[in-house]
Symmetry: C4
Subunit: 230 residues, 4 copies
């Protein structure tokens, strides 16, 4: 089942290495099939180079393995929460990429300091709140989804397709596994650029992009009158 | 038409990846033919590896597509403004390279802090002023050209063949597409080196190169008595 | 003798280059055979690419070469001290990897600032005390082992499988040469991430990971109810 | 003539790219033949990949081209000054490597903050004084040699085989072209490590290595009782 989606999820997982977003097996990509309401996700702890399409695990939104002989990623409950809460999202990426993780560890969102971010994210990439002790001990991966969803209470997830989880690392998403991977790459790039530009500021705060430039860049790629690309 | 220039523009665009100046399709190179007053530019949003010479788009200085079936880069109006204002410039490069973009995001020019920059840039690489809301909404890409030209009111463009646009990223240029690419590489290198040397200073300001060393280095490569190379 | 271990030690030494942990011959890996109480270690100063299994040197815990025609790594006495003091350790890695060495040079342990570290290290990666003049002059490499052991007086070595030696560089260890290499890679990654997140903090101190998240991450990979992987 | 030395100089020049020390043609290596008192040096501005042994230029200590059809590196007069002043030096490397150049631009020597530097440099890698306007205008490349020599008035050049020239970039040397290249790689590595460890210090000054550790490390590789390697 879902053979095409398995292939897409496989390729996006391998793309994590192509774009230098992971060390060892520290990242995973899933894809969502809205019709069957199942997700397809990387098996836990398996090196990307060894992955075959049939190693991908099909999981239902209530967390049951529907198909597959391997154990799904330990982060599966986080993916499930996000698919349930964010309509239209059909791909999710989790990485421990260097620069994004640095912002996560600092407990800070990545402010929109340049057009590189504005081309894909309509504003700051937020940082979640800390998880409480109870949340961590009771159902850590599920509540990781919860704090992400809370951070997007007033933000449209497909307009700001990524987040850094406090003390942890980035998640990114999109309209497909490939698009989610794309956004994860951008999140890492802009994490680096804005780290650097913040170091160049006199007061330790990065210069922010003017709102009207942010809007312009976001809209020329994503608005209804978008004119970037063919 | 302009087959040779198309080939040069193609190769310089592919050079953006060779020199690690771009992610995805975040950069473009154009070339200018002074005789016909046409420019040749990368099509918008097409991956570099897929590009063929005939994908290059020929555009006139009034912005009309003269030849080509693809849409030209969305930054074409910026290139046009620069070719109109900077005589002798026959190649322009735009990138979102990491370190140059950091300076752009900080709203700071790259001071001449060493001979590496002085070998190619006769002084500081300036940062443009911010664009106004009106400029952004009315004709963003054209006015991006305008603010670059303003920054060069008292600077000879071919002596300082690059700039960082406030909140955005670098542009570089030269006497050919290849030469413009070369200058974009130098801009990125010197952006990194001077970021680092600034961090080593006690007062947060980079040590500047003495004027007479700057002149010496620039002149030994570019002056009429230049003696570098064969 | 110990042919299998020699092969493992060889591969882990070559892994130092694969994971970009060394320049020239600035690193070495050993493996320990608890039955014979011998260790197998890289020969001193030989490039990784030239190494053959039979070049590995077998050394006893009293420092005698048991087998091999080449001189063992000059750091052998440090490895010996650690194998004698840390039961269960069967592989040790020494590198001068960039970011880990930076922390060593600063004389600072790497605080646990994120889940990346918590996945492998149950807390801060400590920095040893300085060696005294007498220790350095009398038996430098042996006392390098001594100061590492002192740093683990109240820490279980297999729960925090790495250290930075004051003014010097990292050591990491594990249950096999391959596992020790794995931990050396993590030490380098987390050294970079926490360097960066420390730069993002307002007061020059990195934000620390909450204890209950640290425990959760460490336990889900290493506790008796671990559920990461297949 | 000097066919063997030409080959060594060629390989060391190509090593500049292997070890990522140069961009374009921003670096050169020479070798010295004490018998004939000639040096062999890279031709100016020729890409490393195109170089053939016979492209190397033979130059006498008074600056005359003895053999070769190409123009020697524009930095030849600096190399000549160093060979004349530093007996035993038989290879010199000049690069604009990123981290070493950052220290040069900051006008600071690289303090010995760790054993990585101590393994090859018996103390701080000095920074020269600024050149005066007269020196730059009269004979820039020769006086670049002069300020290097001045910095070594109280230092044995083969014990500290490298320097950063104020506002410019590193030079390194050694007992052969290959050994000089080796030292240039170490200079770059330690420039990075000590930049990073300096950022980790509370007062903006890097922690220094204890003298007795510095001596120990230097002597175990270079002293008469050296015991590193085979």
């Amino acid at each position: 089942m879902l053979e095409e989606l398995k292939q897409e999820v496989l390729e996006a997982n391998q793309g994590l290495e192509t774009y230098d977003l992971v060390t060892f097996t520290w990242g995973n990509v899933s894809g969502f099939d809205p019709e069957s309401e199942n997700l397809v996700i990387k098996p836990s702890g398996v090196p990307y180079k060894q992955l075959q399409p049939d190693d991908m695990v099909v999981v239902s939104l209530d967390g049951q393995v529907v198909e597959g002989t391997l154990k799904p990623s330990s982060d599966t409950p986080t993916h499930i929460e996000l698919y349930k809460a964010f309509p239209g999202v059909k791909g999710i990426v989790h990485t421990h990429s260097d620069w994004g993780t640095a912002w996560a560890q600092a407990g800070k969102g990545i402010p929109c300091a340049g057009t590189t971010q504005a081309d894909y994210f309509n504003g700051e990439i937020p940082c979640t709140r800390r998880l409480s002790k109870e949340e961590v001990e009771q159902n850590y991966e599920k509540y990781t989804g919860t704090v992400i969803i809370e951070a997007f209470e007033h933000i449209e997830p497909l307009e700001v397709p990524g987040v850094v989880v406090y003390g942890h690392a980035p998640f990114a998403w999109g309209t497909s596994p490939e698009n989610a991977l794309h956004n994860a790459v951008v999140l890492e790039k802009t994490s680096k650029m804005t780290f650097l530009s913040r170091q160049l500021s006199e007061n330790g705060k990065p210069e922010l992009l003017d709102d009207y430039v942010l809007n312009k860049h976001y809209e020329r790629k994503h608005g209804k009158n978008a004119y970037y690309g063919q």
